[in-house]
Structures are given as structure tokens and as C-alpha cells.
């Protein structure tokens, strides 16, 4: 297991959002987190890298990380592609990417990695010196994934990478994510509204409702589950 969470509670101010979640992400696998709006998907990802007040146990790569600062968790190799893409709007595309590698010790690997990322997303190479705020939504989403890749992460937390993308782009992005997992062995946790696409990509999946896990299993098993099919896949 690359990541295990036990009895995870989290919330904003007085509002509790997660009520004791248990889940795990297998090394090298893609785990999908499904659920309706407001179920706590984004909060779950945020709690894993200390962006919200969190209680419970989280271990990453054999080390307990609850209570650590966001920066330090990132430095262990957890890359978060946040809700809303988190673009540095006034910096160039290339500067955004270099920032992704900011906390890496192996500075010499940054140049080859930049090339590798441009290999996945050739469009970003064309936009290299362009101010990132002027990129289209889809390009910014690619930039967010690429920035996360520049960390050479062990685990990527992807918060709705399909948000606001045209269906064709979503398919392209998901196939690139699959490539990345296969070639680089990065584990991923994927939060998605688009349950069908997510279950196609993922190995495992959890279904959450109002801050609790109500169903878990292999992606195939969830795809066949009647209640998932009716509520989230719509057939």
C-alpha cells in the first residue's frame, strides 16, 4: 500500500465533512473516489495533504504523515492536482512547470523531465513562454497534471481532471494518465464526477456519501453494481 487512511475526519470550521473514512491506495494502482456533489471527495484529497483540518491516521509509503505541513508531505512525493487547477496565472507555462520541480533534490533530472512532460503534452511546448493565465481551460488542466508530474511523485491526487473539458479532450487526458501510470509506475487517486470514465481507468474504487464510504471494490465490480449503475452511470 502506498497510502492508508484510517478513521479520517475532516472539516471546515464548525462544519464536519468527513466522518471516519478508511481507505487504501495500492502501489502503482489507480483508485477512483466517486460520489455526488458535496459528498466530500475534494475534502478527502485535501485532508491527505493537510489542506484542511484533519483527524485520523494517514500513512504514506510506510511513514505517518498526519500532522505534517503540506509542504513536507509534498516533499515526500505527493503531488496534488487541485480543484480549480491552481495555475500560477502570471507566470509562464515553463515557469509553472519548473515550480512543480521546486522541491526536488535531483536538479539535474529537471531538464529531461521537462522534455518528457512536453512529450505527453506537446501543446504545452508550443505555449512554453506564454503567460499561463492566457491558456485555455483544457491547456491549464494539462499544465496542472504536468506540474504535478514534474515533482516525480510517488502518488498523484487528481481532483476532477475532466472538469470543464470537451469530451474528446477528456478521453485524451485519461489515456495519457493511463500511459503515465504504466510508464512511470505512479500511483493515483482520482476524484471524478464522470464515473464511467473513472471506472474505466481505475483499478479500485470507493463510493462515498456524505463523508462516509458506502461501497468499495474493484472498478469492475463497482461498474456491475446495480445501485452504482443507476445512480452514477445512469443506465
Amino acid at each position: 500500500m502506498i497510502l492508508e487512511a484510517r478513521n479520517l475526519h475532516a472539516g471546515y470550521g464548525q462544519t464536519r465533512v468527513l466522518h471516519g473514512m478508511d481507505f487504501a491506495i495500492e502501489k502503482g494502482s489507480i483508485t477512483a473516489l466517486l460520489g455526488a456533489n458535496g459528498a466530500g471527495k475534494t475534502t478527502t484529497l485535501r485532508s491527505l495533504c493537510a489542506m484542511v483540518r484533519t483527524q485520523g491516521e494517514i500513512s504514506f509509503d510506510g511513514r505517518r504523515i498526519e500532522g505534517m505541513a503540506t509542504e513536507d508531505i509534498v516533499r515526500l512525493g505527493v503531488a496534488h492536482v487541485p480543484d480549480g487547477r491552481g495555475t500560477f496565472l502570471n507566470l509562464t507555462t515553463e515557469e509553472n512547470l519548473r515550480l512543480g520541480a521546486y522541491s526536488r533534490r535531483d536538479r539535474r533530472a529537471v531538464e529531461p523531465d521537462l522534455e518528457r512532460v512536453f512529450g505527453y503534452f506537446p501543446r504545452l511546448r508550443e505555449r512554453r513562454t506564454q503567460q499561463a493565465g492566457t491558456l485555455s481551460g483544457g491547456e491549464q488542466q494539462m499544465l496542472a497534471v504536468s506540474r504535478a508530474l514534474m515533482l516525480a511523485p510517488k502518488l498523484m491526487l487528481l481532483d476532477e481532471p475532466s472538469f470543464g473539458l470537451a469530451p474528446l479532450l477528456v478521453r485524451e487526458l485519461f489515456s495519457i494518465l493511463r500511459d503515465i501510470r504504466e510508464r512511470e509506475g505512479v500511483s493515483m487517486m482520482l476524484v471524478e464526477q464522470n464515473a464511467a470514465m473513472a471506472l474505466d481507468l481505475a483499478d479500485h474504487a470507493y463510493l462515498i456519501e456524505t463523508g462516509r464510504i458506502v461501497l468499495s471494490g474493484t472498478a469492475d465490480a463497482l461498474k456491475k453494481n446495480d445501485s452504482v449503475r443507476k445512480a452514477y452511470l445512469g443506465y
Binding site: C49, M51, A69, T70, E71, V74, R75, A79, H80, P82, G86, T87, F88, L89, N90, L91, E95, R98, L99, G100, Y102, S103, R147, L151
Partner: protein, 289 residues
């Protein structure tokens, strides 16, 4: 014509000093969206440190460098100890802290060094060939200012740390997500601003002499410079500094007289705020209500 040229060149020299201080203001503004009213007094205090070092027998340039280093540290400490606790306080609270810092630095300096005006040495020779248009100190001050500005530009533009500082200023949340220690970046920003201010103080002190109130007027010109350029534009602040320096000198010499020079700054501040609040190089901010 010679007299006019002389005033323009002298204006460029003081303009460089305004530009440095304006840049220090902009650096803090970009990170906190607040104007540090104590920036001038911090520079003044640094200049007194330099004066102490030189009086203790240290040669000028080592004293200069040591002062810059000490000022950097003091800037970092001020951020950590004084500003950090009010980080999330309402704007008015933080502004009050800035003003308190101004008054405290001023009084403490007066208490340690007295309010007697002191002379401050210039590192540049007394006589030189170009002397007809510009004093050697003025020329030297321009040189030092340009060096500092170029070094800062290179630092922010070409080093990973400089990039991280820019990132932390504009998007703290995303910065944390790439592993940047945002709190330390803010402290570093204060350190750099204090260091730049120290250079400005040491360059202006031979002209205005050393006393605890020496920076009052200069900070006002720096405000004008930062506003003319656009408070969120480093490049604008620098250009604004030179523009204000030249305007102040030329208008003071030929139009309104030396006594009313300071009003040039005030007129510029009010004029820019009325006509073009974002300055000439700043971004226009639109907010939806």
C-alpha cells in the same frame, strides 16, 4: 541649458534612490497587498548601523556590505516576530502595526543616536572629470542603484528561489502544493526589501545628512514613484522612481522653487490616484461585487 542638464542628472541620482525604496515597497505589497509605511524608517535605521560601523573604524565598503547583510536579517526577523502574528488580522490592524513600527524605529534611533544631524561619508572621490554636470557621489549612487536593480532582476528572473518567491506572492495555496515554504518566502521578501532599503539609505545619507527623520520626505517620493509606476509593478516602480526624481528636481529648480518640492510628490500621488489609480505599468483590478 547646462543648468537644466545638471538638474536632470541630479534628479536621476535621487530618482535612483526613490526607485530602490519604491521597489522595496512594491516587493512587500506584492506579497501582502499592503504598503509598508515603516520601509523608510527601516532604511534609516540601517543607515545608522552603517554609520556606527564606519565610526568604529571599518572601511566603507565592508561596512556597506555588512550593513546590507544585517538589514536583511533584521527584515526577516521583523516579518517573523512582528508581522507574522497579525498575518490574518484585518487591514487596519496591520497598517497600525506598520505605523507603530515606524514610530518605534524612529524613537529608538533617536534614543540611541540622539536627534543631532550627522554627516555620512560618500565612498566616491570628491573630484572628477564629469564634475560640471554631476557630482561624483550622484554618479556613484546611480551606478550602485542600477547594480542593485540588475541583481534583483536577475535573482527574481533566473533563480529557482526567485521564482518560488514570485509564486508564493501570487498563489500561496498552489505554492504549498509544489513544496514551497510560503512563510519563509514572505520573510525572505522582507529581508530583501530591508536590504534594498539599506542601500537606498546609505546612498541618500551623504546628500540629506543623517538624522532619524531623514527618510520622511524620501518615503513620500517613493510612494509617489510606486504609484506612478503602478503599485504592483516592480518595473513600473523603478521607472516611476527616476521620473519622480527628475520632475522633483527640475520643477524645484525652475518652476515652483525648492521650498515646495515635496508638494510635487503629493500632487503626483493625488493626481495618479484620481486619473489612473493603477499607475502607468500596473494591472487594472476589477472586482465583482
Amino acid at each position: 541649458m547646462d543648468a537644466f542638464l545638471h538638474q536632470v542628472l541630479a534628479g536621476l541620482a535621487t530618482g535612483g534612490i526613490y526607485a530602490s525604496l519604491a521597489l522595496a515597497l512594491v516587493m512587500i505589497y506584492q506579497a501582502t497587498h499592503l504598503v509598508n509605511f515603516a520601509q523608510g524608517e527601516m532604511a534609516m535605521f540601517s543607515t545608522y548601523i552603517a554609520w556606527s560601523l564606519i565610526n568604529a573604524g571599518m572601511p566603507y565598503w565592508p561596512a556597506f556590505l555588512l550593513t546590507v547583510a544585517i538589514s536583511f536579517l533584521l527584515g526577516v526577523i521583523i516579518e517573523r516576530v512582528v508581522i507574522r502574528p497579525v498575518e490574518n488580522a484585518p487591514v487596519l490592524g496591520v497598517v497600525t502595526v506598520f505605523i507603530a513600527l515606524l514610530v518605534i524605529l524612529n524613537s529608538v534611533t533617536g534614543w540611541i543616536y540622539t536627534y543631532t544631524i550627522k554627516s555620512f561619508p560618500s565612498p566616491f572621490p570628491k573630484e572628477m572629470a564629469l564634475g560640471r554636470f554631476m557630482s561624483p557621489h550622484e554618479l556613484g549612487a546611480i551606478g550602485v542603484t542600477l547594480l542593485v536593480l540588475a541583481a534583483l532582476y536577475a535573482f527574481f528572473r533566473f533563480t529557482p528561489l526567485g521564482l518560488a518567491m514570485r509564486a508564493a506572492a501570487q498563489n500561496p495555496v498552489s505554492s504549498r502544493l509544489v513544496g514551497i515554504r510560503v512563510g519563509w518566502m514572505l520573510a525572505l521578501g522582507w529581508g530583501l526589501a530591508a536590504a534594498v532599503g539599506a542601500v537606498a539609505g546609505m546612498m541618500v545619507a551623504p546628500i540629506v545628512y543623517l538624522d532619524p527623520n531623514m527618510m520622511g520626505g524620501i518615503l513620500l517620493y517613493a510612494f509617489a514613484a510606486a504609484l506612478v509606476g503602478g503599485i504592483d509593478s516592480p518595473m513600473g516602480a523603478v521607472i516611476g522612481g527616476f521620473v519622480v526624481g527628475v520632475l522633483e528636481n527640475v520643477l524645484g529648480a525652475f518652476v515652483i522653487g525648492n521650498e515646495l518640492k515635496l508638494s510635487v510628490a503629493l500632487v503626483l500621488i493625488i493626481g495618479v490616484l484620481l486619473v489612473k489609480p493603477s499607475g502607468f505599468f500596473g494591472k487594472v483590478h476589477v472586482s465583482r461585487v
